[in-house]
């Protein structure tokens, strides 16, 4: 994550600002504001604005005129109740805005979460930087042998080295050709006055999917939790999980009571189907149950045993 001196100056200036406000503020999040929190090799997450706090969730749930005089632990109890019973609208009353720099193939996963506002840097209008994602050695994973959309162990030795070389060389070569086609003098590629230069909206198609892009992304707390539940999950692709985990930290700084309830009732929770519940009740009654007489498929049985921390067989 190399920021230019101008970018660093802009960030420093924003952080130096001090304003008076009647709005609720969250000092722990103010401390993080505008900082570029590093993710992957060149990416980052920056919180650039926020609205609301834990109390705003409570206030909206009660449709109240002010912050009231209830004790903080009453607020915590209400927040836990709202989360446990799938209330969504009070959490929608908090809003956060991020500036994110991320590889394009991750941006394509991310954008599938539609209930958010996005402004992406336009490669139709501007020229992208020569920056692309290369996995760290421990992330250069083989295809999983038992999960069609998962990873196995990291590649080793010569294969690992060759894969990294290919990724790097192809990204550099396609970027060089992108700059040449543009013919605008970008990235130390001198412009040739004898050529016209290809339109930016076309030249970009030569870039590889690990090229970094960036966007402003704004969402409410309820939809952020939906995003984090899926993307901070162990089954998410590592590269997007890396972003989700940093964002989860910013949520903890921002709305600690909501964050705690989210960890308990969403991230650390498990949903049992009607059939699974039946098995749990039989087990609790002391009845021995095995997969064949459980009414569950082998796959469901395995998932249930893993959740209960019991041996699968």
């Amino acid at each position: 994550m190399a920021l230019t001196p101008t970018q660093l100056d802009d960030i420093a200036a924003a952080r130096a600002a001090e304003h008076q406000t009647r709005r609720p503020t969250v000092p722990a999040l103010e401390a993080l504001l505008y900082q570029a929190l590093p993710v992957l090799d060149h990416g980052f997450v920056r919180v650039v604005d926020y609205m609301g706090d834990d109390a705003a969730v409570v206030q909206a749930a009660r449709v109240s005129y002010g912050r009231g005089t209830r004790a903080a632990n009453e607020d915590r109890g209400l927040i836990r109740y709202l989360m446990r019973h799938w209330h969504s609208t009070p959490f929608e009353m908090c809003e956060i805005k991020y500036h994110v720099k991320l590889p394009i193939f991750i941006a394509r996963q991310w954008i599938r979460h539609r209930t958010a506002n996005v402004n992406e840097y336009s490669a139709r209008y501007s020229i992208l930087d020569r920056e692309f994602y290369l996995p760290a050695p421990e992330q250069l994973a083989a295809q999983s042998s038992d999960n069609r959309q998962g990873r196995g162990a990291p590649l080793q030795g010569e294969e690992a080295a060759r894969v990294l070389d290919l990724l790097r060389q192809d990204a550099m070569q396609t970027y060089d050709h992108y700059a040449w086609m543009l013919n605008e003098g970008a990235a130390d590629t001198p412009a040739d006055p004898g050529r016209q230069g290809l339109a930016r909206e076309l030249a970009r198609m030569n870039l590889t999917l690990n090229t970094y892009t960036q966007w402003y992304w704004k969402t409410d707390l309820h939809n952020l939790f939906q995003f984090l539940r899926l993307r901070a999950d162990a089954h998410a692709q590592y590269e997007i999980r890396a972003y989700a985990e940093v964002m989860l930290d910013t949520v903890q700084a921002w709305v600690p009571a909501c964050h705690e309830a989210f960890l308990d009732y969403r991230m650390g929770a498990a949903t049992f189907s009607a059939g699974m519940l039946g098995v749990v009740r039989r087990l609790l009654a002391g009845e021995p149950v095995a997969q064949p007489d459980s009414g569950l498929s082998k796959r469901e049985w395995r998932e249930l045993m893993e959740t209960l921390g019991r041996p699968v067989a």
Copy 2:
């Protein structure tokens, strides 16, 4: 709009708060924050939080690291360009949250704007106050004779008096019966220990549609403009327009450059169909055009002439 002493205290306490923030602030909107701006006979609009300002729109459009050093008139020019060319995402980067008290029949119009977050006071859970909307005499309008969903001139004399009496008496009587059915001692209706009391979620069905409700309503600036374009329009029902006009004032205080562009390119603008454009070109070329040879229907012709400020005939 009668607020209780407790509510007034809550508002005063919120207004007295002073916090330090690194976020952009808008002093003109801070001055309005939390105040109950009166609308109709008992309603109000209160701005209870906001995120972003004019510069945030520009910042998102440019995906920049800070506020930059451009002159304010460059920002204004960009905002006008974005509005004129129907860019929506930069305006989505600003967010505002209102607390609104409004009659139920207006809430039902309002809620049709779906891209917003809402927490409404629950008559399933709580007891509504004895407050209902009664039109001022100049708003007690007859049905329009030429527009099936419009108003004519105000009713006069005995008819006006009788209508107002009916509205008032029916609202009071149905509320009295609501309180009696609840049997909870609400609104000075003593509870009878010999009765159980009807469930709140049922008793509420006896209230009339002019009863006041309230909600927290949060939306982004783009969707707020969509709301205001329709609801601050001369064709909107007066009662919702009264809310929209107060909200338009808060937008002016909040994002003056966006507000100016909105007035010019949306509220004060007119869209001409392909057929209407053809007529305008012929007129500008000095050709006399009348409705029968215009290719427009009578209704379209009338709408065009009104927009151009010309006699219809």
Copy 3:
């Protein structure tokens, strides 16, 4: 639910139509199409159109060119997998459109589900019928003593009779005055040529919240499931649950494999928090656990014991 002869003719004509199509059709749902399925005393649900079937969910999940040659039980397995793992987009590929007649206070609950398309009968433009909801005796419930938004046992004797009388009389009186204020000869109220008549958009405010309205409501299968999970649930208000249950039957006719997975993984399922999971594991290990040493609040403990079918104490 009294339909006029014209309405019955319209429905019969629609049901009599036979068209050829290359689109997938679902005979069990075609059999229900356009019929007014009764709900409450005057309401109904009519399926007026649909798109897709069980196979369309599978087809979208696989992004395939046709229906393929897989066995039906493979499709069922994939649908169950998608539901269990919270995939939402394949279920969004099916769409259904209902025509619903319902009391206004229920319409106000319903409309909070925003991801749907709605066209409501306009009382600004047209005149509402004299039809209002009156609970059946077994639904005329007292306020719950232990749940602020729930119902207790039905009211009895004189109190029940008096409540029903008040609901009926107030609805009839306010409707009579509505018709009088309109002065359009509606509902056998003769128009008086000496009066102008109040604008429809104003007169409607005199109606009570149990007046029936109607709308076209269209949504995709994923969002319909979200609606049904909340509204067919035992904690939902009876009056909206009555609609949800009829709609659930239409879903069973339409997409039986999705319906089965929904019952198993949503309606009949339970989500255990991290803390609850810990208690279940300790119980399964044979450890006696009581609320005070469970780490759960009393309320959570009670909810957990109920889900597990164990005594609370």
Copy 4:
């Protein structure tokens, strides 16, 4: 657009199906159903399902029980009225589902329209085909000199040839390396048993942005019109416009009255700001107006003169 024999068989089988339905059908759209309508060099648009027709828009606007007996020209008049006055909900009552094959850099523009349902072919789960977009010579355009996000004239001679070579060679090379890294025997690249193969979710990052992807994309008619207004516009990038134009043809086959109103009131229409309207009125009154005394910026003045078909100077 090369479809495999299996794909062609699947399409032929779907087209051969004949079902009876009570739902409205549109023969002109049935005739197109499932066909792969070619776009660009390897892309296509296929209509795979639809719901509703012109009459369904009218039916929803009137909340009626059937199709009624009104004349077709009354329906057309109502549709034009709804479009002219920005009514959106009746158009939301029609739904269409497409299967689209398109280059990734176009998919990234497209997905910014969020009010739609999408299932994309997963390169995390499956292997992409060796197919990439190469512009036809007349589309290999230079960067516009006066519009930062526009195109100028096509490149010529050696520059054109070299650009095409680079695009082709880079796409082929990065795809070859993608197949090599996968080591699954894809695209005639033999698998080496001595290597593990990189995870699919990682290998995909080496592909260029002109690689083709495909998805199911479903939306309602109102949101489809929003998409087409922006993407079938002359200012849209040619490659997405090519898709929009084919989709516009399918809309004409499907809902001809809505299509006609859309062309007249949206595609062929122009919106005049308050300031522009003032200029038009002065011109119509015979007053000579030039830019400096128009109150418009130079850019607005030029846009207005172009819309009015007058010389800019």
